[in-house]
């Protein structure tokens, strides 16, 4: 390749890489946050409609807190990233924050205090759907997380398969031993009886 061609190729490649960078880190990132917010807004609307149907009061602490939680997730959706989650998990496991868990247990208590089990189930379902959305957003947004998850799933499957094979072998050998022992006992018993 001549020097002129080398220069041109270098600049074309740089320009294309900068374009890809813009697409990934500016356009795609903001789109993903907007899409997550859109899904959460739809879920919050559904929750509002559920309360409007008369199933639960707007002033009920369980409804109020769930809505507040959704609002928080919508507002801070741009901060939901894998490095941030990893950091929070590491810090919280090293220095546990009792206030953090208290918020969750308080909400659980408010849910349990609801008189109607159907409403309780429905609010739990809303919460699960929200968590599902957040988890999907986290997993699909981080290639590192996706690779780790695949590795973890494969390791879990392999270790699970190995473990169940060992357990099955152990159970089978134990059963065989027991059966042998019973048979031996019977034989020796019958011999005694014959004797």
């Amino acid at each position: 390749m001549s020097q002129d061609m080398h220069i041109a190729a270098t600049f074309h490649l740089t320009f294309a890489l900068v374009c890809v960078w813009f697409l990934v880190f500016v356009c795609w990132r903001t789109y993903r946050v907007d899409a997550l917010r859109q899904r959460l807004f739809a879920l919050r609307d559904e929750l509002f409609d559920y309360a409007t149907s008369g199933a639960i009061s707007y002033d009920d602490p369980a409804y109020w807190n769930l809505r507040l939680l959704m609002n928080g997730m919508i507002r801070f959706a741009h901060r939901l990233t894998f490095p941030r989650l990893l950091l929070a998990v590491v810090v919280n496991s090293l220095w546990p924050d009792p206030c953090l868990m208290k918020l969750l247990t308080d909400w659980q208590k408010k849910i349990e205090a609801l008189p109607n089990p159907e409403t309780r189930m429905k609010l739990h379902e809303f919460n699960c759907r929200m968590n599902d959305m957040l988890l999907r957003h986290l997993v699909t947004g981080s290639p590192t997380f996706m690779i780790l998850l695949v590795c973890f799933a494969v390791a879990a499957m392999v270790s699970g398969a190995v473990w169940s094979f060992l357990r099955a072998t152990y159970t089978l050998s134990l059963q065989t031993l027991e059966a042998e022992a019973v048979r031996a006992q019977r034989h020796s018993g019958s011999k005694k009886a014959y004797a």
């Binding site: 600049f11 900068v18 002033d59 490095p83 810090v91 220095w95």
Partner: protein, 141 residues
């Protein structure tokens, strides 16, 4: 006796407040580190691109002027490549325009929904986003 009780309660409240502040500070610190990491990755990628480009053209230093290089780059652009650039650039522009339009529509439509929902629930809580559905500047850190 009553004074002792008052002192104990005041002390407990003080300790609780201190703990809350401590955890609040830690949460904020975590947030700052998380955001810094979030910005570090795109920045590092950009530095990497710049570094590779620099190393690639370093060997040609002093042999060519910028005008010379510019002309060579432009002369090397083929029609098919130029067309690809135009299509890619046009698509990005189209996406950005569509996004702007969506945000304007969000601003126009949500006010009515908020009004109607407030009629049913006077204490209706909000997500705290801007009227266009974007992140507030103070939340961006």
């Amino acid at each position: 006796m009553a004074y002792d009780g008052f002192l104990r309660v005041a002390n407990d409240e003080y300790r609780q407040r201190q703990l809350e502040l401590q955890y609040g500070f830690r949460f904020k610190l975590l947030d700052i580190i998380g955001q810094a990491l979030n910005r570090l990755i795109p920045g590092a990628v950009l530095v990497l691109i710049a570094g590779f480009t620099y190393l690639s053209i370093k060997s040609l230093a002093g042999q060519h002027t910028f005008a010379d290089i510019g002309l060579k780059v432009l002369a090397d652009v083929k029609i098919s490549e130029a067309l690809a650039y135009v299509i890619a650039g046009g698509s990005v522009m189209f996406g950005l325009k569509e996004r702007k339009l969506r945000r304007t529509t969000v601003e126009r439509l949500t006010e009515r929904t908020i009004q109607l929902e407030r009629e049913l629930d006077a204490r209706r809580s909000s997500s705290g986003l801007t009227t266009r559905g974007t992140t507030r500047s103070e939340d961006q850190l």
